[in-house]
Assembly symmetry: C2
Homo-oligomer: 286 residues x 2
């Protein structure tokens, strides 16, 4: 089976507008998935998540005593209702919270605004051995900031290069980024916003400001188009995951992580003590 | 069924030495558990964890816009091999990492040593709406520090009161602490240390220093005895969970959390916007 990372990777000629948010690229053949793709995905994602937990533990173990600087960051961007929270909950279900740091980036605080836009991002990066989760990221500074002219074009237009430089530097320092845009359609967003209004248990996720952002849909798509193609580098490629179908989205993101970890292939470290001597001491001491 | 918190709570006359680490206090009757308690526990803990995820989401939602200062902290202490990591992985399996902060306390850093022993603990507390996990805690400062005379008795003997004051202050500020000592036997620790030596995938968890600590077993039990009884307060009671049987341990800690959340009873907040007006705007805008 071809690598899903190759199938979903953003290339210079990728056009977001041409990617179908209801698509299921790279999905195994019908025989594997069967007649109930939701059920198949649930079982499959649970199984992949257990594999991810194994990788997570081996990476965590291998970073003990500073033996490696490897760490993995899942970075998620999406329009409102794109499914970032649900994706995280599904793909991390088997992982240990002790080896994970999850960060959501909202509007910058006063302190954060006093620094360069990458300052708060650097502070939130996972330590060696850890899996990091970014719910939104440095890309907000070329998305909402650009769409709403929060800084001038002379400022935001410089940020693509700044981000590429930053990510290359981090990659050289042991960070593997899995950058994913969850791509939903405008119609699907409408349906999900309606769900949030109709279901009292979901009201809290709704924000009247969501409609202001939705009105700028096309501007956002253009800002995403530029961010994706300008910042999909060899060191840190972007992937677009069609996300109208949640079951596909969960499977795809879990699979991207699995492929990434398989390449990293973290191993338990060799003991830095004499196992037999320790066993003898333990047995002798009672 | 009686509340498990009452059954496991540390009272002034609690004697750790009299609690059987292989016990299963408060376990439902044999008919419920059936002939395969491990299997029963796995299913039950997965189900409780889903309930906990619901509570977590409602508490997280209710803290939006600063509407509540409620947060919950699971604080775990145990002898080496007591099962802190495994417990966390099991009870949090359904929860969202986005609403959780897990912190492990190792030996204090140089910066931490320059401050009061509670300084690093304050910084690690969960924010309103969040579930926090402490793997070790402020209690290390009356356990390992006391056993190894890292400070004089004149210093550590003051810390029980300092901890009680600190915890009462936090409880008044909206923090609900679930303090759990995972209680294993010396024989079980030996078996688990042997496992860590015999299984190459577990070598990394072994530390030659573990034998030094094990040699001080009785001193640690005495230090635990004092910490448990002196710091089991109305604001923040201690619980001892017999932990030689992992399936009981997981069920008991999950149940303590469920009971705690049921009392807190977090609710989705009422919308602070006009739902019908928003729906009309959304439908009109297309």
């Amino acid at each position: 089976m071809p690598d899903l990372r190759d199938i979903l990777r953003v290339r210079p000629d990728t056009r977001l507008a041409e990617i179908d948010p209801r698509g299921t690229p790279g999905l195994p053949g019908g025989k594997t998935v069967g007649k109930d793709p939701k059920r198949w995905s649930k079982t499959e994602v649970a199984a992949i998540s257990q594999e991810l937990a194994g990788y997570q533990e081996r990476m965590f173990a291998s970073a003990k005593e500073g033996a490696t600087d490897k760490r993995v960051l899942l970075l998620l961007q999406a329009m409102d209702c794109g499914g970032k929270d649900g994706t995280v909950r599904n793909v991390t279900q088997g992982m240990s919270p002790a080896g994970m740091t999850a960060v959501s980036f909202g509007p910058p605080s006063e302190e954060e605004r006093r620094h360069d836009f990458l300052w708060r991002v650097r502070r939130a990066l996972p330590a060696p051995g850890y899996v990091g989760i970014f719910n939104r990221s440095q890309y907000e500074d070329v998305l909402i900031v650009r769409v709403h002219d929060l800084v001038g074009e002379d400022v935001w237009s410089q940020r693509y290069d700044a981000i590429n430089e930053f990510e290359a530097e981090q990659a050289a320092g042991g960070l593997t980024m899995v950058k994913v845009m969850l791509h939903i359609s405008k119609g699907e967003q409408k349906q999900r916003l309606l769900d949030r209004l109709d279901d009292p248990a979901k009201n809290w996720k709704y924000n009247p400001g969501d409609l202001t952002e939705r009105a700028r849909w096309d501007d956002y798509q253009q800002a995403y188009q530029d961010a994706l193609t300008r910042c999909s580098t060899a060191a840190a490629p972007w992937h677009v995951v069609p996300a109208d179908r949640k079951w596909y989205r969960n499977w795809a993101v879990a699979t991207l992580l699995r492929e990434t970890f398989a390449d990293l292939d973290p191993r338990y470290p060799a003991p830095d003590f004499d196992v037999d001597a320790e066993r003898a001491k333990l047995l002798a001491a009672g």
